[in-house]
């Protein structure tokens, strides 16, 4: 065991005050402190003072004000913004067919419409709500989460599709063709996944895949709106 003849290094002093000095060295340090008043008083001062350095005040943020801005950035940013409230009894207009005149969408629209009808058609909402509620009773919150996500994504996608409809004339043919092709691929995938989720609502992997496909669709629509 070596004895310390010189004063303690700054590292040693702070390690003692921190309580992180290894045991092996501690004995030599203690021996030195017993005979060096200078080091002893400094280490004691550090040890006593450091806790008070850690008690910085807790600044208070204006959470409401900042949340408003965060929410707005989420809404306007590149990430999907889903409405504040969960889907209500108020029906969401279903007939996307009215908005689109592209014939190739028809079979997709029918397939998607069948699935959407389970959740969104006006006038039939009550029956489907009861059906959905009955399924919720069996599967807990699973189906409600799927319905919430479907509604929210479909709503967001519809807003973007409406906007694109207005911009369509301004889209270059190349961009419009790319959009149509990709939208077709994504909508087919979403339709397949919705069918699968309806058959197996408790499957978390299916829900994740459906959410991923929805995100792809919304991202695609946002990308297309930048092409105008």
């Amino acid at each position: 065991m070596s004895s310390l003849k010189a004063h303690l290094s700054e590292e040693d002093r702070h390690r003692i005050a921190d309580g992180t000095m290894d045991e092996e060295r501690r004995a030599a340090i203690d021996a030195h402190l017993a005979s060096c008043w200078n080091c002893k008083s400094d280490v004691a001062h550090l040890t006593k003072t450091m806790p008070s350095l850690r008690h910085a005040s807790e600044p208070t943020a204006p959470l409401d004000e900042l949340w408003a801005e965060i929410h707005e950035r989420i809404e306007q940013g590149k990430i999907v913004s889903l409405g504040k409230e969960p889907p209500e009894a108020t029906p969401t207009p279903a007939p996307q067919k009215k908005r689109f005149s592209w014939l190739w969408l028809a079979p997709i629209g029918v397939a998607a419409g069948v699935v959407i009808a389970l959740f969104a058609l006006p006038g039939k909402r009550g029956a489907e709500d009861r059906q959905a509620t009955a399924m919720v009773a069996d599967t807990g919150t699973t189906l409600v989460s799927v319905v919430d996500s479907s509604y929210a994504y479909e709503r967001e996608a519809q807003v973007l599709l409406d906007k694109l409809e207005l911009q369509r004339a301004l889209l270059r043919p190349e961009a419009a063709q790319a959009l149509d092709r990709d939208l077709h691929v994504v909508d087919v995938a979403i339709a397949e996944l919705k069918d699968a989720v309806a058959r197996d609502p408790a499957n978390p992997a299916l829900r994740q895949l459906l959410a991923a496909s929805y995100r792809q669709k919304v991202d695609l629509l946002k990308r297309a709106s930048n092409a105008g």
């Binding site: 590149k78 699968a196 496909s213």
Partner: protein
């Protein structure tokens, strides 16, 4: 004398060659705009067709060099905190002809570039790059990169903490040293040829996804694909917990000496210390683990 003449001739040739080459380089293009700017300023750039190259440098200046087609006009506006520049057609509605721009920006600036078919190249530049059908190539070091295209190819070879990359049918190639990545295609192939991603979301609808390398310790990677396949090429030193599931696609494990716990449509494999988390989900695409 003849020897001296020969030496001079050789020197002339030696110095001419770079000059000749320089005539092809961006530095040779006429200056369209030059301005002193703040080190953290923002630039927005629009060039419908041709090529845009952005390079970061250690000067607090913006320089734009370029060749603008006679049918186009170069527009430039500057404010306190930012600059906007655009190539616009002289006659509205005409097909844009290619124009070339080379832009030097301060290293800490932020760029937003949009094109229709023009290719975009960024070197050490932070910002957003968008094109409808052009290609995007990013390299060097940046603090964040967003690259999006409707159908163009993306080649991202940057040292960057945060990266977001999206394309439709284009090929998306990830290289360099990104850490936090969100990358997706619709039908295009997604190739991840880097093993530095700590947080990664890789998604496609029907394009194949290929990942090659050993996931770093603590990485959390998610692969989602509807109809396309997911191939993981793993070296012997790879370590992680791999949770693979497919609704109707096949799951194949070709890693030697590995016997995973498997259910009909799911497989779980722990390699090494298992200190990375890799989740792969497909609807009907195949999932394959292969040795690299």
């Amino acid at each position: 004398m003849a020897r001296h003449t020969l030496k001079v001739a050789l020197l002339v040739v030696a110095f001419s060659a770079p000059t000749a080459a320089a005539a092809q380089t961006p530095q040779d293009m006429p200056v369209l705009a030059a301005r002193r700017v703040s080190p953290t300023f923002a630039i927005t750039l629009w060039n419908p067709a041709g090529h845009v190259r952005l390079v970061a440098w250690d000067l607090d200046s913006l320089v734009i060099r370029g060749r603008v087609d006679a049918s186009q006009k170069f527009m430039f506006g500057a404010g306190e905190n930012g600059v906007k520049s655009a190539i616009e057609g002289r006659v509205v509605g005409t097909e844009p002809k290619p124009s070339e721009l080379a832009v030097w920006v301060p290293r800490r600036s932020r760029v937003t570039v949009r094109t229709e078919s023009a290719d975009i190249e960024g070197v050490d530049v932070t910002g957003s790059f968008y094109t409808v059908s052009g290609a995007i190539r990013v390299s060097g070091t940046a603090t964040s990169v967003e690259a999006e295209s409707m159908k163009g190819n993306l080649d991202l070879n940057a040292n960057v903490p945060w990266l977001r990359a999206k394309t439709g049918e284009g090929h998306l190639l990830l290289r360099g040293r990104p850490q936090d990545v969100d990358a997706s295609t619709i039908t295009g192939t997604l190739d991840i040829a880097t093993a530095t991603v700590l947080r990664g979301q890789f998604t496609s609808v029907s394009g194949d996804i290929h990942y090659a390398g050993a996931p770093p310790s603590g990485a959390i990677l998610e692969f989602s694909n509807h109809g396309g396949g997911v191939d993981l090429l793993l070296p012997a030193a790879a370590s992680g917990v791999f949770a693979l599931s497919s609704v109707s696609g096949i799951i194949e494990n070709s890693l030697p000496g590995v016997r995973p716990a498997a259910a009909p449509r799911a497989m779980r494999i722990t390699l090494g210390r298992g200190d990375a988390s890799i989740t792969v989900r497909t609807f009907k695409g195949a999932i394959r683990l292969r040795p690299q």
